[in-house]
Subunit: 195 residues, 2 copies
Amino acid sequence: MNGNTCFSALKERILKDGKCLEGGILKVDGFINHQIDPDLLEQMSVEFIKRFAAVEYNKILTIEASGIAPAIMLGFLLHLPVVFAKKKKPSTMDNMLTTTVFSFTKNRSYDVCCSKDFLKPGDKVLFIDDFLANGNAAKGIIDLVQKAGAEIAGMGFLIEKSFQHGGDYLREQGIKVESLAIIDSLDNCAIKFRD
Amino acid sequence: MNGNTCFSALKERILKDGKCLEGGILKVDGFINHQIDPDLLEQMSVEFIKRFAAVEYNKILTIEASGIAPAIMLGFLLHLPVVFAKKKKPSTMDNMLTTTVFSFTKNRSYDVCCSKDFLKPGDKVLFIDDFLANGNAAKGIIDLVQKAGAEIAGMGFLIEKSFQHGGDYLREQGIKVESLAIIDSLDNCAIKFRD
């Protein structure tokens, strides 16, 4: 098992229930990011536990909203705290770390923030999210973690679109990246997995 | 156990780690809505299971983002699908139900939407959210569920601010509402629980 191997339960589910739309879009809202299948979520979290078994981390970090479910399940199985970075600055949040992320999908920038109370010097965080595409959200997280004086222990994604190259960038930085399903192409609305 | 009894594990945690700010604001971002303690989350979900033991439901419904964690944990323990209504219309969502919610906290309206694929006639949904205050989000959910031809089986909240009266409204509609901690007052930055 490594970052280049698809997790079969997820791959099968994508083939069964995923929908490929024009423009390289993969819809998985029946089981990942609108309706969630908690049993599949547990299986995927167990797979993350295996893939990051040799890594030391004390906290799970994600970004709202679609990352929360996989992060929570993993934190629950490991009895680790889960922190979700927020896409808007809450009026009640002080003591804050902020970074700016550009979304290609939405063609606009947004701020991502996290309280220093929950991301601290010495923390070794495992970042979890649903999708890895161009990697801009992940780059924002790296910036937040650096600003906090904490450390990225690894990054785990349910689905990586390798043709958008965010994974290349992250792996070049020496980050351990594990994606449970790697999709090399969605051309002509056909889902082509890495293996 | 009923809607008027505080769940002691949550009450104790609020007293230990919650922060009361000016203007009736209770900050619980150390364990509920920014950093999450998955073990407390499990205990709270088990408490929901007990309180809704006599109720029949086939789906957990919540709104992004802070409702996702408690909804996922409950869905996981019960092996039920979890649907989270979205606060913005995703560009890839069709076949959609929409309602408008006015947020007093943010002093603006926002749309909440859900695909008809995941909220269907005959569904009996248990709605879960972190906070119940004036109840506007809950009213929006009732509207969505009615538009879907589905049914509200019950509504569960981690924390209810009874002095903002959303709970009164929902209970008057005959809805079974269970809140794990009911706060009657935050006057003078003192947390006063129902019991």
